[in-house]
């Protein structure tokens, strides 16, 4: 493959692609290496932000150097990923809490109010909860 780029664009695109490759590999390796589910939630955020972000910045510089125009598709993709990845992480953590943990296996919150995901009655609770709600009056803290 032969590309006609100026030298600065060649070096910049290569550097961003190598940084992105390193962080993408770190994110996927951490998904294998880390010991438990909540720590595993941490690893792929590196692949989302730095990995895909580095590839997108490299692509922007490449399009700017070869075709001489500013490309905004990459900004759209990275904006969408930055908006959606916290929502995805929240949903996955909530699935883990409701399917594999109970209130007595979780650490105690500092102000003693209980975990909000468990104390909410009705819509926030899952169908497969391990400890069902008592049938009495609603929670004292509310």
């Amino acid at each position: 493959m032969q590309y006609d780029l100026p030298l600065w664009a060649d070096i910049a695109v290569s550097a961003f692609l190598l940084i992105a490759a390193f962080f993408g590999l770190v994110g996927s390796y951490g998904l294998i290496r880390l010991p438990d589910a909540m720590t595993r939630l941490h690893a792929p955020t590196k692949a989302t932000t730095l990995g895909v972000g580095g590839v997108l910045i490299g692509s922007m510089i490449f399009v700017l150097a070869t075709e001489g125009r500013f490309s905004a598709h990459e900004l759209l993709i990275s904006l969408f990923l930055f908006l959606t990845s916290p929502i995805t992480a929240l949903f996955i953590a909530k699935v883990h809490i409701h399917l594999h943990e109970r209130p007595d296996t979780l650490p105690e919150p500092r102000d003693g109010a209980g975990w909000a995901s468990y104390t909410a009655d009705g819509p926030a609770r899952g169908v497969r909860d391990l400890s069902p709600l008592p049938e009495t009056e609603p929670d004292q803290n509310t």
Binding site: M1, Q2, Y3, L5, D10, I11, V13, S14, A15, L17, L18, A20, A21, F22, G24, L25, G27, S28, Y29, L31, I32, A37, R40, L41, P44, A47, T48, G51, V52, V55, L56, G58, S59, F62, V63, T66, S71, H73, E74, L76, I77, F80, L81, T84, I87, T88, F91, I92, A93, K94, V95, H96, H98, L99, H100, G126, V127, R128
Partner: protein
Amino acid sequence: MIGYALTIAIGAFSLGLLLNLWRVATGPNISDRILALDTMVINAIALLILLGIALGSSIFFEVSMLFALVGFISTVSYCRFLLRGDIIE
């Protein structure tokens, strides 16, 4: 030089895709499997953009945008199905 960088980056993200596939196959919990599938979508987006650089085509930006949309909606609907037993009520 950019050819070597592209080869290394495509190799790294492909290896990451294989590691995610290992986590999907052997994940102990269902949340690990959902997380690994979400990371597979992220790696596939990066591979598509790298392929767009390598081929000099700009159609891959639209493809990767569609991948991001479908990946987000599928992850959220899978989690919601596990949490509520239903997706649209």
